[in-house]
């Protein structure tokens, strides 16, 4: 029994330990899968005609003839929606109609004067016009169907008046006819409700299909185009079909989301048809097609990353990384060479090692503070450059941060070179420097390369040290290394928490962070592979 218990304990412990590793693997999956799957959709997605229109207008990409033909096809398919909305609007937006009525009244007066009518005739017809106008306005204002009918009937009695035929007054009667038709199908008491529901609907329609062809272009770029992506269009379509509301059921508990079909809001009206038409014809209206937007890597972003790519961020990250690497590659290799060739017990070496360990343990945000105080505010001004964040300052700060990584990896690589190599070189009469340069260094090169790649990935991914030394969230593309730049890491941060506008384009949010993550994973995979090959090679020769 006791043995059984011990064995069971052993078995369960093994399982527990295996679980720990499985938990880590799962954590990695949970971390990477949603990010990568959403992030890659920044490059690979189903683009709509709006996307192609945007690309043509902003970057002159694509064939104009073909795209314009597509736009025409889409516009033709969309016409039905706008017709439905316009028809419905008549019963709702009475202000427009009232303005129209007043215009007709004015126009009629002018016409009558031009005809040479004077005195009593003019006054009489003018009174009739006023009467019609007032009656129509009353019909528009009231919510009582009877009153509407009475007023409209009264107005329409004038339609057979020969004096008014072939004058602007016919416009009155046209309005009256339309009004009667609309009113018959609409619950007037709900007019205010309809008005706000329609406003919302038109907003969604604009998000989905862009501004109406006839209307003025809105000032913001993101309002000038509809859904540029099919996934975005699907979300908007759902928003169009269902109204989302947050309902409080219990004062202590969080609100509950309730979705009501928008169709029911317009039940019985002419607009009901729209909610069948749009889902059935959405593909014709948007013409989605598989798109590879490889320019995501080079394009500048527009309007808080609504459109465009991560070109400047990628460039900035690369520039900062190169600046740092130029400094730490020689420094790191020389330091590693010196450390690996020196006795471990010599006091200065022990001090240097302790300092390296301390340096490796300094929190990254403290590097940021140091970079700000030392490079940005002290060294660069002393050298005659401006005291402001720059790529140079950020690169120098990150170089200090990555120095321990570089030195450790290089030292390991140099130590891994078999002693026999060095002995052979020394026996042939080469001095220590020559031995190092011609024998040890080439043999250790793959390992050192691993170190270089690992420091590269460390530098490219750091955010906190560049916060105050060289990264900006927005701004022009840097023209020299004395200017600050956008970086992938800081951009990822900024898009995740910065503003709500970025939330409207999640593919760009995820795209930015995924490019950073994939870049770093790629570098690390390269490092792991190189290291495996290097150690195999050295083992084979030893």
């Amino acid at each position: 029994m006791r043995l059984g218990l011990r064995l069971a304990l052993d078995r369960s412990f093994t399982m527990l330990a295996a679980t720990a590793v499985i938990v880590l693997a799962l954590a990695l999956l949970v971390l990477l899968v949603p990010m990568v799957s959403r992030g890659t959709s920044a490059v690979f997605f189903r683009g709509t005609v709006e996307f192609r229109r945007m690309q043509l207008a902003l970057y002159h990409r694509g064939k104009p003839g073909q795209i314009n033909a597509e736009i025409d096809r889409a516009t033709a398919a969309r016409k039905r929606i706008y017709d439905l909305v316009d028809q419905f609007k008549q019963g709702i937006h009475t202000d427009d109609l009232k303005v129209q009525l007043r215009r007709i009244h004015r126009q009629l007066g002018q016409e009558l004067q031009e005809r040479g009518l004077t005195g009593q005739d003019y006054a009489r017809l003018r009174t009739i016009s006023t009467e019609i106008r007032d009656r129509l306005e009353r019909a528009l204002d009231t919510t009582d169907p009877n009153e509407v009918r009475v007023n409209l009937d009264y107005v329409l009695t004038f339609s057979i008046n020969p004096e008014l035929s072939s004058t602007s007054a016919q416009a009155y009667f046209k309005i009256a006819h339309q009004l009667r038709e609309t009113m018959q199908r609409m619950d007037l008491a709900k007019r205010m409700e309809y008005a706000s529901a329609l406003r919302e609907l038109e907003g969604i329609l604009q998000e989905l299909f862009g501004p109406r062809p006839s209307s003025q272009l809105p000032p913001l770029l993101r309002q000038q185009y509809g859904a540029t992506r099919w996934d975005q269009a699907q979300v908007l379509l759902h928003k169009l079909l269902y109204k989302e509301q947050w309902v409080q059921q219990d004062p202590d508990r969080p609100l509950i989301r309730v979705e009501t079909p928008r169709k029911t809001l317009f039940a019985g009206t002419s607009l009901e048809e729209l909610f069948d038409y749009v889902p059935r014809h959405i593909e014709e209206m948007l013409l989605p097609r598989l798109t590879v937007y490889w320019q995501f890597f080079v394009d500048d972003s527009l309007e808080s990353h609504t459109f465009g790519g991560v070109g400047p961020e990628l460039l900035g990250t690369i520039l900062i990384t190169i600046t740092a690497m130029v400094i730490i590659i020689p420094l790191g290799i020389i330091s590693a060479a010196y450390l690996s060739e020196s006795s471990a017990d010599w006091l200065p070496i022990r001090i240097i090692r302790m300092c390296l360990n301390t340096l490796a343990g300094v929190p990254s945000v403290v590097f940021g503070l140091f970079g700000l105080a030392f490079f940005v505010l002290t060294i660069l001004p002393a050298l005659g450059f401006g005291a402001r964040p720059s790529i140079l300052a950020a690169g120098l700060t990150l170089a200090v941060l990555a120095l321990p990584v570089m030195i450790r990896a290089s030292e390991e690589a140099i130590r891994a070179v078999p002693q026999s190599y060095k002995e052979a070189a020394l026996a042939l009469g080469a001095g220590p420097v020559r031995t190092f340069l011609t024998v040890t260094l080439p043999a250790a090169m793959p390992g050192i390369l691993t170190g270089i790649i690992l420091s590269l990935s460390r530098i490219a991914g750091e955010t906190a040290p560049v916060l105050f030394t060289g990264a900006v969230a927005m701004g022009p593309v840097a023209r020299s290394i004395l200017q600050p730049t956008r970086t992938l890491a800081y951009g990822s941060y900024d898009m995740a928490v910065g503003d709500r506008i970025a939330d409207l384009s999640p593919h760009n949010q995820y795209g930015m962070v995924v490019i950073l993550v994939l870049l770093i994973l790629l570098l690390n995979a390269l490092a792991i592979m190189l290291r495996a090959r290097a150690s195999n090679k050295l083992r084979g020769h030893a």
């Binding site: 412990f13 720990a20 990695l28 300092c355 140091f370 030392f374 792991i528």
Partner: protein, 325 residues
Amino acid sequence: MNRTTDLALPTIGADESYPPLVLTPRQDLAGYLISWAGRSIFFAITCISVLSILLIFAFVMYEAIPFFKQYSIVGFLAHTDWYPQSIPPRFGALALVIGSFYVTFTSLLFAIPVGILAAVFLSEMVGKSIRSIAKPIIEVLAAIPSVAYGFFAIKVLAPWMQRHLGLPTGANALNASLVLAIMAVPTITSVAEDAISAVGRDLREAAYSLGSTRFETTFKVVVPAAHTGIIAAVILGMMRAIGETMVVWMAAGNASQIPKPWWDLSQSIRTMTATIAGEMGETAKGSIHYHALFALGLLLLMITFGLNILSDVLLSRNRKSTGRT
């Protein structure tokens, strides 16, 4: 083997005359001097890392001193009112210090068991093939940039928590702790694994020969023998968590408060690192707020420096105690 035949071996007694192999005194001296100069230059370059850490301490301290001239240390360390914008501004950093340690300890609560178990698993229980799969997983977890972890925390984990745990906000201590735990595990695992595999084979074999199961061998023999190294691993993991900026800045909610009740992980907190990162961009250079942030940085630097020394001492002791392999 064929390659040796390609080498053009110099044939002695051919047309060219070779200098004698013995160096003249001048050549000898020159060679000595060059080698000495080379060594000194190499040494000087190696000292740059020493210089860097000295400069870091010097400059952070230099910028922090003006703060302590104007503000009492007691007010800084013993009060919880961090209101840099009020008049007069108040810089009581206790809530921030506690916030830093709070997320660190809660994350270690997750990270220590997982990290050490994974280390034991990798060094004691599996062969090369599984190790070669599991090791890269841990390396990749270590390599993912902290801003990506922060992004995950705020964009994926926070909405999930809000929806499924019924919390008022997803940006809270629990979220930050969980993500920090995932970040600290690779450090703990790799250092602990080194310490555990450094334990001599003889100890294990003695335990097995006495009839111990693997569980007993691991926990009664191997882990006690490597305990200093394992503690060092935990300390290094703690340093990683306490110095982490982006995740806590993005996911911990940034409310300068001490959770009440203290075990309520669903409250927002704020750490020293997040305060520095969040407020430095908005301060005027040279203002007291600016210097106060450097004071926070100095405090953070001191804490990590202390932890670092501790882990160094423990690791070197571990090397001595298990060093008979």
